[in-house]
Symmetry: C2
Subunit: 259 residues, 2 copies
């Protein structure tokens, strides 16, 4: 019951078999980042080892049970392989994906950043999201510690700022490039801190960019929404490793809750 075993894929000719496992869901629907990670493993197995830029469009809810992944390599270049992917449950399309894959190392070399990792109290001084606290099953799969300033929404006290900051790690294994994709979708929706009705915000599309492999340890994460307009909102994520290097960015386009 680890992330790596619960996202494993098995090759069968041109397709890959996988299973949407119980416990990666909110209200019965599997987490989008979890579904992307399964598909990305199949796409990587068909091309190059790590997702660098991965797009996913969500077509129907992912329910526990067998799924089939069908990667198709479009081009194998010098450094990147471009790959289509999909997850299907029987005849039902669940996620459609497109990605560029490469072999990544840790983030090195010249760095210029105009932003710093989020300032966070020590993990033990943050607010743990655990099953005991009545949070979704998904939250038992990793160790998520919210910045105390952002955590009041759970007791009906949203900050009014659509922002979540916090630490994240797996309980039983280090986070790899596929784990980063899950992590990019693992925090509560930022609109839970906006003064909007707390409601389902279905994701139309999510893109994750992986800059490099994280050092072992905690991820520092920040998720923000700046524009709730046109019936849509974006959610932007930044994921930093424990050594303070930006390792991934993400953006989702979701539909505004209808209050």
């Amino acid at each position: 019951m680890s992330f790596s075993s619960d996202t494993a894929v098995t090759r069968r000719g041109d397709v890959f078999d996988a299973t949407i496992h119980e416990g990666w869901d909110v209200g019965g629907n599997a987490n989008g980042g979890y579904l992307m990670a399964i598909a990305a493993r199949a796409m990587a197995a068909a091309s190059r080892p790590h997702p660098v830029a991965l797009n996913a469009h969500f077509l129907s809810p992912g329910r526990p049970g067998p799924v089939v992944c069908e990667p198709a390599v479009i081009k194998t270049g010098k450094r990147f392989s471009t790959v289509r992917g999909s997850l299907r449950s029987g005849d039902r399309p669940v996620v459609e994906l497109l990605g560029s894959f490469a072999e990544l190392g840790e983030v090195e070399g010249p760095v210029r950043v105009d932003a710093t990792p989020p300032e966070l109290p020590d993990p033990d001084d943050c607010v743990s999201f655990s099953p005991e606290a009545g949070s979704p099953t998904l939250m038992s799969r990793f160790d998520l510690r919210l910045h105390p300033e952002d955590a009041g929404f759970a007791r009906g006290e949203p900050t009014g700022r659509p922002l979540f900051r916090g630490w994240l790690r797996f309980r039983d294994e280090p986070i790899d490039a596929f784990g980063l994709i899950l992590a990019a979708d693992a925090f509560p929706p930022t609109v839970f801190n906006a003064n909007l009705p707390i409601a389902w915000t279905p994701t139309v599309e999510m893109t994750a960019h992986v800059r490099g492999l994280p050092a072992p340890g905690w991820l520092r994460c920040r998720f923000t929404t700046r524009f709730i307009t046109g019936g849509m909102l974006e959610e932007d994520g930044e994921l930093w490793d424990e050594t303070g290097r930006l390792v991934a960015q993400s953006r989702q386009l979701a539909l505004t809750p209808r209050g």
Copy 2:
């Protein structure tokens, strides 16, 4: 020689014929947003009228001449159609795309924004990028006015901040949802204002989110890069219409210039 005629597609059975026209290039390579707009027209013709979330991976340079677009509708939902697309020049894949399409109106309804449109001097007080000024052919296709504070790079005086702000419009027609995609890729690369060697920054992937149709007139645009790390950089775009509504966001992942 307008944007709409130069991005037109003609259906031929399941595929669409189009032409990469001269003059939408920098140094002979067609602009990525221009290529995306051509493909998006074919994907829209096969599904729903407007791109809402469009991903593109760039596989080889787009040269003037005929191309074929092959859209494939993956799912037709209540509101969105999810569509794969590609542009090929003979057997050579040029761009591979994935998108969600819908029918958009102008941006209305409740709006919450945590950012404002870029403050810009009047267009006539901005710096015009015109062919006379020796800028790429592409720049003759639209009317682009850079904020004077960001325009010094052209005379060898980059600001050191990877930021471009400015106005953009077509000379001869209003900007539609497809024009927004071009506009999202029409400014000089933000790294031209970073203190880095000015060099080609090949785009691996670009995503555009269209929130609604722009009102006629100028677009106010802002492009920024915050993270140049891991051998990659992102370029984030915000496009606002003349009435001050956010109409599109974009993000590119590009490779850092090798100085």
